[in-house]
């Protein structure tokens, strides 16, 4: 059960499949940017009507979240049995 060949046998472990999924994501992102040009935006506030706002904000949010989380980990990480000792 522990041989490496066994682990890499599934479709999701196949590098080709993984690459195809990534490419699909890139294409989808590009398409979404193009579609935005053709959709009439009924922005309710000023920020919403900034072009590409959601795409940039979505990407930026996650980068920010991960950067802060790394800092948080440095601050709060303890051993697993911290409270038992």
């Amino acid at each position: 059960m522990n041989d490496p060949a066994h682990h890499s046998g599934g479709w999701a472990d196949n590098p080709v499949v993984r690459r195809r999924i990534r490419i699909a994501l890139y294409v989808l992102c590009a398409l979404l940017l193009i579609v935005e040009l053709f959709v009439s935006r009924t922005g309710h506030n000023r920020i919403e009507s900034i072009p590409l706002m959601y795409a940039v904000y979505g990407f930026g949010s996650l980068v920010f979240a991960v950067v802060v989380a790394r800092g948080l980990r440095a601050l709060v990480r303890r051993d697993e049995d911290y409270y038992d000792s």
Partner: protein, 565 residues
């Protein structure tokens, strides 16, 4: 035609029947409770109250209106899913706890006065602890006790607040209040503890990962949503809730990223989702309150689905630690599929339930010009995608960390049929609500038209989610994404489990020194006894006497404050 009865009865009666039934009959009783109870909601008469007088007190144990209606339906769906999921469990303690717990939650939702509310509120805390104790490990017992301290504290504060309200006004009826008096603050904070307010939230990530694989499915549904109901009933339009909710939606994201226990990730995710609901309550417009009710409804289904999938993994593979899991998608393909549906729903992808409910709260924020909070919640939406949308399914089923996996993971089999049926039904409902939101909107408590599938909204939401995914892929591939590491991450529990005991220890040493000089032996004996319990109780996981002592001390203090009025 089913005769009219209070919604708690099917569950309480089923709980009574547990000890005297076995095998298939017991399963039938378990499943019958939510079905019989649920049938009552077809053609339920709304804006009806039933009154009774007890020792001169005018009580309203049953009040059905549009708000209790939608929460009642959601609770019955949640009850059916979690009972079906737990159908093969052979543990009378868990079955009785679960049934009483659901009954108490319905009791809260239909309570029209504070005395009834208090009784159900306490029952909610006490009965649910059985689902944690049922793990029957020393850690689970300690966990359950810590859980009970928070639950009992909430009940005590509710008593104090309700008592003061009653003494001030002579009224016990549970209606909308405004923050201002000490009484309403007590009630507000009592609800707030169970709703996971910041700094009072720690019991959620502490105890929900400690429940049994099936018990945590019950836990993740009822307590916090009963509290959301209570706040929506008692404090709609309280602006403070907008800021509390935004904080709750914000900070768990960072904890969820660095957490390795996947059921704890889901627990932080609950706080994040409760944040959205509280923002809706805080805004208080009809659209916002509808949004809160809709989001609670959708959340109950997708969150229980996610807890079911992780419960199935825990049961079949023996762990939900991200570093130990991997490759389970091949051994548990159905569970993985249902988990992905739940994950995409909570992330609010179009055509799934989270999208049609969260959109109402976001629109309400825009309409009321809360631009900053709107940006915070937009960030929170992207954060949900990270920890619940991608991290849970990826590390639960697809990751290949390269580390040695335990045999239990490599040999895990697919979850049993009843679990798959429960998860399948949950996944079906997530899709059904997303595709046909009219069905959910018809149940909403307040009027008003809303339609989520406006082209601009769909495109922008997809941009937010897919570019957030892009960021994760980029950070993961470039090694910037933090690795999974099993650890304890200090949270507000550090205050109660480390700071307070340390402070008390120092204060005690100081006092003891003074009294030693005074030669008061009796005092010293007494205070040493208390200190020893504080030391043992709050400080460590092995916390029995100290915890109870603390709860008792706070209980007394609050009651004294309460009665002075």
């Amino acid at each position: 035609m089913i005769p009219e009865f209070h919604p708690v009865w099917p569950f309480f009666i089923a709980a009574l029947l547990m000890p005297v039934t076995r095998g298939a009959l017991r399963k039938a009783v378990l499943l019958a409770a939510p079905i019989i109870g649920g049938l009552q909601f077809f053609g339920m008469e709304l804006d009806v109250s039933r009154h009774m007088t007890l020792m001169g007190l005018e009580l309203t144990p049953y009040r059905a209106d549009s708000l209790s209606f939608i929460f009642g339906i959601a609770f019955h769906i949640g009850a059916f899913l979690s009972i079906l999921f737990a159908l093969r469990v052979r543990d009378t303690l868990q079955q009785i706890s679960g049934l009483l717990y659901v009954g108490a939650a319905l009791g809260v939702v239909f309570a029209g006065d504070f005395l009834t509310l208090f009784i159900q509120w306490e029952l909610l805390g006490l009965t649910s602890a059985g689902l944690i104790f049922a793990s029957r490990t020393p850690e689970a017992v300690a966990n359950g006790l810590r859980y009970l301290v928070y639950q009992v504290l909430s009940g005590v504060m509710l008593t104090a607040g309700a008592l003061m309200l009653w003494l001030n006004t002579g009224e016990l009826s549970f209606e909308a209040m405004e923050l201002g008096s000490a009484a309403t603050w007590f009630v507000f904070l009592a609800f707030g503890i169970k709703a996971g307010f910041p700094l009072l939230h720690n019991w959620i990530p502490d105890s929900y990962p400690a429940g049994t694989p099936t018990g945590s499915v019950f836990l993740c549904i009822f307590t916090t949503k009963a509290a959301i109901y209570a706040l929506a009933r008692g404090f709609p339009g309280t602006e403070l809730l907008i800021y509390i909710g935004a904080t709750m939606a914000f900070f768990p994201i960072f904890y969820a990223i660095i957490e390795n226990n996947l059921r704890r990730v889901l627990s932080y995710s609950i706080i994040n989702q409760l944040g959205f609901m509280l923002v809706g309550v805080g805004i208080g417009t009809e659209l916002a309150l509808n949004g809160t009710a809709a989001h609670a409804f959708a959340h109950i289904i997708y969150k229980s689905l996610l807890f079911m999938s992780m419960g199935a993994v825990l049961q079949q593979a023996g762990t939900v630690s991200a570093v130990r899991l991997g490759g389970l998608y091949r051994r548990m393909p159905w569970t993985a599929t249902f988990c992905i549906v739940g994950a995409a729903s909570i992330s609010a992808f179009p055509l799934l339930s989270g999208f049609v409910s969260k959109a109402m709260i976001m629109t309400a924020l825009v309409q009321t010009d809360h631009v900053f909070i709107w940006l915070v919640m937009l960030f929170a939406s992207a954060g949900v995608l990270e920890h619940a949308g991608i991290k849970i399914p990826y590390f639960g089923f697809f990751s290949d960390s390269g580390q040695a996996r335990p045999e239990s993971v490599n040999n895990a089999g697919e979850a049993p049929l009843n679990m798959l049926l429960a998860m399948g039904l949950g996944a079906f409902l997530c899709i059904a609500i997303g595709v046909w939101p009219q069905g959910l909107y018809a149940l909403l408590p307040y009027g008003g038209d809303y339609w989520p599938y406006e082209m601009g909204h769909v495109v922008t939401q997809m941009q937010l989610l897919f570019f957030a995914t892009l960021a994760i892929v980029w950070m993961h591939r470039s090694g910037r994404y933090p690795a999974e590491i099993p650890s304890t991450n200090l949270d507000a529990d550090w205050l109660t489990r480390r700071l307070v005991p340390a402070f008390a220890r120092r204060a005690h040493a100081r006092m003891a020194a003074i009294y030693e000089r005074l030669g008061n032996g009796l005092w010293q004996a007494g205070s040493t006894l208390i200190m020893r319990s504080v030391d043992r109780g709050l400080g460590r996981a092995w916390s029995v006497s100290g915890m109870v002592l603390w709860a008792l001390a706070v209980f007394t203090a609050v009651l004294i404050v309460g009665l002075r009025y």
